[in-house]
């Protein structure tokens, strides 16, 4: 122990000097309260623990996780369908595994409606083997040109033409994404594609689900 030599033992000898004797050392007088308190403060300061990190610091990990999550969601949203699959619209499957194109006007052909940019345009009849009803077409039941659809597409095309001209893209044609039900008859599909072609849409992206060959 770090004890000072006893005042009563000359030469710094311990309480039992050689030769025995057995006389107890004289009691050391207590220091004053001021000295005691100063020593106590000094000792507390000396022994104080270094501030240590005694909790798990996960802030950096959370930052990293958030960034990874954002990238993951962003890359997933580019490839995944935000189209509700229902009995009215079931997209066909394909073995194609390329990335889906997001360019162009979305033309949706469900079992009940043809929809352009979330607006219902033309109803699909119960038996669409011969396309939409004749009254929605320019020249009657045998025509392929759907008037209502063409007028909606023309509005979209006019806007897209201006955007393309101002952004330096080729304004001669626009693109369209075709989202059609897997049971859509070929005749109805051709009517939609024909109408798109007539309204200066020169590239079609047929949306399919990535999957095994059916």
């Amino acid at each position: 122990m770090n004890q000072p030599p006893y005042a009563g033992s000359p030469g710094g000898l311990g309480p039992t000097s050689p030769g025995g004797g057995g006389t107890p050392p004289p009691r050391q007088p207590a220091a004053s309260m001021a000295v005691y308190k100063r020593e106590l403060r000094r000792e507390i300061r000396r022994r104080a623990l270094e501030p240590e990190i005694n909790f798990l610091n996960i802030t950096a990990m959370l930052d990293m996780m958030t960034i990874i999550l954002v990238f993951l969601l962003k890359s997933m949203s580019a490839q995944t369908a935000s189209i509700p699959q229902s009995s009215d619209l079931t997209i066909p499957k394909s073995i194609l595994t390329t990335e889906a194109s997001q360019q162009g006007v979305a033309v949706l052909v469900s079992k009940s409606w043809i929809v352009v940019d979330d607006n219902q345009v033309v109803p699909v009849p119960g038996d669409p083997t011969h396309g939409v009803e004749g009254r929605y077409k320019r020249g009657g039941p045998n025509d392929l040109y759907i008037t209502e659809l063409a007028s909606r597409l023309q509005n979209w095309r006019d806007r897209d033409k201006q955007v393309r001209a101002s952004t330096g893209k080729d304004p001669s044609g626009s693109e369209a994404i075709i989202i059609a039900d897997k049971d859509t008859p070929y005749r109805l599909l051709v009517e939609v594609l024909f109408t798109l072609g007539q309204t200066e849409f020169n590239k079609f992206h047929l949306m399919v689900l990535q999957g095994s060959k059916k």
């Binding site: 000072p4 995944t80 594609l193 079609f204 992206h205 949306m207 399919v208």
Partner: protein, 186 residues
């Protein structure tokens, strides 16, 4: 200088011992461990129940009008056209109808149905054979697909898949006819 007595020194030693903090008094930190537990559980359930569907798009173009060039092409072209009918596939190439079995030019369905199903594997073999029939067709990649009015869209997509590419022995896809146009049946 005054010296401390043994009693005072021992008391100083005792009082200056650093105090151990209880786990709930540590520095007033927000304890987010239970929160993280909940989030992890919720995320696991969400990921287990979510159904992610990956989409792809098949690019197509409106049919090009023929006869734009003043001179006829100097090399023969295949001009592959596939007509999907309820009984199978009728294939036209080099201006003629491909015979059943995909060997000759004759009327009839080139690839009929097997049982009640369309035989897409036979169609792939047929178009592969047609493409390999002459070196002039090596670079030809366009096909025109047409169908009866009642053919469902899924059959058309599967037909496009069948003629797009074929895996070679090493497992790599070899392109056959990836550029699809749709024929307008009047």
């Amino acid at each position: 200088m005054e010296r401390l007595s043994a009693y005072q020194r021992s008391k100083i030693r005792r009082l200056s011992q650093p105090k151990e903090l209880a786990p709930d008094e540590e520095g007033g930190e927000l304890n987010i461990v239970p929160f993280l537990d909940i989030i992890t559980n919720v995320m696991m359930f969400v990921l287990a129940t979510i159904t992610v569907t990956f989409t792809a798009t098949i690019d197509s173009f409106p049919p090009r009008a023929g006869g734009s060039s003043a001179r006829p092409p100097t090399t023969p072209t295949l001009g592959l056209t596939i007509l999907v009918v309820p009984e199978g596939f009728s294939v036209k190439a080099r201006g003629g109808n491909v015979a059943p079995g995909c060997d000759d030019v004759a009327p009839g369905l080139a690839v009929g149905k097997t049982g009640n199903e369309y035989d897409f594997a036979k169609l792939t073999a047929c178009v592969q054979k047609l493409k390999a029939s002459s070196p002039d067709f090596k670079d030809e990649t366009s096909v025109t697909i047409s169908g009866n009015p009642n053919i469902p869209y899924q059959t058309i997509i599967s037909t496009i898949d069948a003629v797009r590419s074929v895996p070679d022995p090493s497992g790599k896809d070899v392109e056959l006819f990836p550029d699809v146009s749709f024929g307008v049946a009047r």
